[in-house]
């Protein structure tokens, strides 16, 4: 049954509210939880649900996404049969149409014709959750649905399951029907299909703004949510890095935090998410922050409610702060000096 499902990830979404973090990268490649990228969640869920063929439809700034996914090896998708496929959008200036653009699919219709799977799961790239899709497919078939949408607390997660032959019809008839994507169909109350909903009960967040990103990150410090996301039997895979274990030096103090590998910590860290390869200097205090890969925070700094994008350097004695509702975001690769923000 499992191998009847095809995975389709729409990675074309662009949220204005996440501008600060998506200038250099596609939304799908936004770092999360210290060592992951947003796309890791949906991609791992697909793989853990037995999906063996995954197509990614990216649009903006997908270099970082390609670099992250590579051949798909880390998700066990570097296969001779099926595996990982990339279909970048040929239409760069056309406006964005919501999840599952039929135009974008039409340009790559052969993928749908050639694959042997009978059903397709079309998903966005920015939902953080850990879900097995097998029961969704089982119910879809048993209940005779045309389209199943997955909901969380009654709200759609913008993930759709549809029979592949029906999907191909939808794509081919987009001119006559006027539907430009799956979400168009679902939101039209007069659509001709049997629509089913599947309620997902685990933790799930759609990241669409800096605020939701910040909250979703801080929620990781809540053990029940953490346990919901990181199940041993359904692991979230990501690109592996050969970082050494994290080094806690004399005089450091770390509490209520999530820390990835390769860090060297001498300062104080509280309620924060620290990514791979971060250096935190002596007498520095980091509270309620998200610190991405390879940042260096020198001695005597105070940071509260700040998001540091990758490769940021914070010089000695710098104070930076935001608020819970409006965290201060520091762009990738920049240098923050003590005098710059005073």
């Amino acid at each position: 049954m499992n191998n009847h499902l095809l995975g389709v990830i729409d990675a074309t979404t662009y949220h204005e509210g996440l501008d600060e973090l998506t200038i250099h990268r596609s939304l799908a490649a936004v770092p999360f939880a210290g060592r992951y990228r947003l796309i890791d969640f949906i991609l791992s869920n697909m793989v853990n649900s037995g999906i063996e063929s995954v197509a990614i439809f990216p649009k903006y700034q997908y270099r970082s996404l390609m670099d992250h996914l590579g051949s798909g090896k880390n998700w066990d998708l570097n296969r001779k049969r099926d595996g990982l496929f990339f279909f970048p959008s040929p239409m760069l200036d056309s406006p964005n149409n919501g999840i599952g653009s039929f135009n974008h699919f039409a340009a790559n219709i052969d993928y749908f014709y050639r694959s042997s799977q009978d059903y397709a799961l079309i998903a966005n790239c920015f939902t953080i959750f850990n879900m097995d899709f097998t029961p969704v497919l089982e119910r879809h078939i048993r209940a005779g649905c045309d389209i199943t949408t997955i909901n969380k607390d009654g709200q759609p997660l913008e993930i759709y399951l549809v029979k592949k032959s029906l999907l191909i019809n939808m794509i081919l008839s987009r001119g006559e029907t006027g539907y430009s994507c799956i979400s168009d169909i679902v939101s039209d109350i007069h659509h001709p299909y049997t629509l089913c909903t599947y309620e997902y009960t685990g933790a799930a967040v759609m990241v669409d703004s800096v605020q939701t990103y910040f909250h979703a990150s801080m929620d990781l410090l809540n053990p029940p949510i953490w346990k919901d996301l990181f199940l041993i039997e359904q692991p979230i895979f990501t690109k592996v890095k050969d970082e050494p274990p994290t080094r806690y030096l004399n005089g450091c103090s770390v509490q209520n935090s999530i820390v990835a590998n390769g860090c060297q910590i001498e300062g104080k860290v509280e309620n924060s998410i620290i990514s791979r390869g971060v250096k935190i200097g002596k007498n520095t205090i980091i509270k309620n922050c998200i610190v991405m890969q390879k940042c260096e925070i020198q001695e005597g700094c105070v940071l509260d409610s700040v998001i540091l994008d990758k490769d940021v350097k914070v010089e000695k004695g710098t104070h930076l702060s935001g608020t819970e509702t409006s965290p201060f975001v520091v762009r990738k690769g920049t240098v923050q000096g003590a005098l710059m923000n005073s």
Binding site: P244, T246, V259, N261
Partner: protein, 379 residues
Amino acid sequence: MVKKKCVAMLLAGGKGSRLNSLTKDLAKPAVPFGGKYRIIDFTLSNCTNSGIDTVGVLTQYQPLILNSYIGIGSAWDLDRRNGGVTVLPPYSESSEVKWYTGTASAIYQNINYLQQYDPEYVLILSGDHIYKMNYDLMLDHHIDKDADATISVIEVPWHEASRFGIMNTNEQLDILEFEEKPSEPKNNLASMGIYIFKWSVLNQMLERDNQNPHSDHDFGKDIIPMMLNEKMKLVAYPFSGYWKDVGTVQSLWEANMDLLEEQCELNLFDYDWRIYSVNPNHPPQYISPNAEVKQSLINEGCTIEGDVSKSVLFQGVTIGSGSFISESVVMPNAIIGRNVLIERAIVPSNTNIPDGTIIRASEGEKDVILVSQEMLQGV
């Protein structure tokens, strides 16, 4: 096969019996070290970092975990079209099974493997040591000196010299004599068990050694003395830097503790000489609101709710609340309950330590404790 300039042969069949229960089901090179590595990672990473892309790994004792760990070598970038890593277990011929009886016999029985690459030089390594070394520089030295064999040596404290194989050399570091564990050492240059040979010479030596019924077929005991007898050119290659044989429970513990020093000689954070390993996929470590972590090395997948100081924690370790772990090494996926006290101990992989357990040496006792299932049942 494409001809190779230098092929490495890594001896990984050692039993490591002084590591007690740690090597009961595991070859010594596969013993966990440094929070995420296995001992063999250092040698394999040295090969890759030195540009050596053809490595034969000779396994014999308890090879299951070691073999599956090495796999096709992709963790060390040694999954190559030409060369790469090849695991070489003992095999049977029509008449008999040929166990590796000594280091030299292990190589002798894999002459076929070497011949396919027709190398100019063969590098002999062991998978028992923790160190970072550029073998390419040693090869340059070997070629410069036009030596038949080059042996890497390290200066050891004079009072410890009698524990090692000692090279007696002249001022140009030509080797004049080799003494295995001399009671009265004349020199303090210890052999690190790393040899480079001209393949043509080694090939001959192995053939002759194999004919000798009195030989133990060992590099140190047989091959090197035979070459010295025949006045071949053997030179020492001096190495300085961190090098440790982690052959005992005590030395394994010490080497782990060395990593916690402020100025650690073995820098794991050197991105120009990375130590690669098979990366298990674990989420980041979670440090709870009541935890305290000091001067420690902690890997992904750990959940820390207690106090950890001067310790090395491998992937997937859980420390319950109210527990105190100090000067200890906790190996992968060990679960330590609540209100546990552990001092100066090694906790093996997958050990489950019940709530309230106390493990520490009695007053005046210097030895490190190796935690075992029997010990826990006795508590």
